[in-house]
Symmetry: C2
Subunit: 239 residues, 2 copies
């Protein structure tokens, strides 16, 4: 369904990475480095993903229910844009035209954006929060397969903590005002995480049998679903 | 028509400002300091203006004709957001809630945004470029009436050079592809500058007779129209 993957392989052995990346989390122990797309594909894909997140958040800003929330979400939009710009800067360092690197991924990411657009402002905001959170985490796990010099910087871009509290406050405010919203958001969150896993799965390099990939990616997904559950918990929702 | 002005007066005498502000230009010599709105109104108004510019640019990003332009204009959108955030930071330093400070100006600025929205992507982009350029210049001239400690920082926020070349390239690309676009944009530019002057005029503090204000503001407008003409010139358009 999602053809994010353009199976160009990079060299099979991952470099051993320094302390900076150890901060990412426990699933570092699972070596996914041969599943990492080549550098330009990785950067093109993540750069366009962050640009799409920025665009979605900009729409959320434009349609915010009040000025305080508008102001708050504009900060989050700026953070997504900064991530995009950080990844684009890496492409430029490699003398790669960012537009050319991003182009192969636009269609699938645009489709995913449409799919995860909610029926109202709150669903859309939850959608961005949940999917961008999951995918940032996921790509951060694949960073170990990038060349050593780039990996630390890219990891830092992807794992920079955002202003989640603004999103949480806005969603909580909506749920307080509308008693039905919580149940709707819980359902929506569950649907999103399924679609997001499909997208993540399609982003990796096909360097193993489907069975082999499945076996290795499952523990990572389990980890990422833990982070997802914590995000839902903070909203008072069951994942 | 535009009621940006909430006539709260600040103390009449402007502080003498340092070398940083001398860089703004010749019209510094015309003392407009008693026309400057009080600090919170100034910051609320400019902060919301930049937020509106950011929102307009985000829409331009979303609808960009190609990925290279999308990427380029996203940088410009980020610059407008950074201006907004710089002005919001000044409000926070004064322990003023940014949403409260911006609220009085939302309606007029939203109306202005609708008025300056073009019939197509290129007109809209020209509209943002021309109106934001003029108004940034205009508010930068009023900075001399702000308290000394804030003035230099606000001036720096407002006069930070943006990625104009990206906008110019996008508009030129459009005019090359469509021979009728140039004439349409020239006309649109002329209409915009009239509306923008009305908005600028409505933003100042009413500390003089209408006649007196007119006499003093005219040389400033003449200056700003010079900058406007240079912007249009760079596009190969007659102002």
């Amino acid at each position: 369904m999602f053809e994010w993957l353009f199976g160009r392989r990079r060299r099979a052995k991952a470099p051993v990475l320094g302390s900076r990346l150890d901060a990412i989390g426990a699933a570092d122990r699972i070596d996914l480095s041969d599943l990492t797309p080549d550098l330009v594909s990785f950067l093109g894909q993540t750069a366009y993903l962050e640009l799409a997140v920025f665009q979605s958040l900009s729409r959320v800003v434009a349609e915010a229910p009040n000025l305080a929330i508008k102001e708050g979400i504009s900060v989050v939009a700026g953070e997504a844009l900064a991530k995009h710009q950080g990844l684009v800067a890496e492409l430029r360092k490699k003398k790669v035209d960012p537009a050319v690197a991003m182009q192969p991924f636009t269609q699938a990411i645009d489709q995913f954006e449409v799919l995860t657009r909610g029926r109202d402002w709150y669903e859309t905001l939850l959608g961005i929060y949940i999917t961008a959170g999951f995918l940032d985490d996921f790509f951060a796990r694949l960073v170990t397969g990038l060349p050593r010099t780039v990996a630390a910087r890219v990891s830092e871009v992807l794992t920079t903590a955002g202003s989640d509290s603004v999103i949480i406050a806005a969603l909580r405010e909506g749920m307080e005002a509308d008693p039905d919203l919580g149940a709707r958001l819980a359902l929506w969150g569950r649907r999103l995480v399924g679609d997001t896993q499909l997208v993540a799965r399609s982003a990796i390099a096909a360097s193993d049998t489907a069975e082999g990939i499945h076996r290795r990616i499952e523990p990572v997904f389990t980890d990422l679903l833990g982070a997802h559950s914590r995000r839902m918990d903070e909203l008072g929702l069951t994942a």
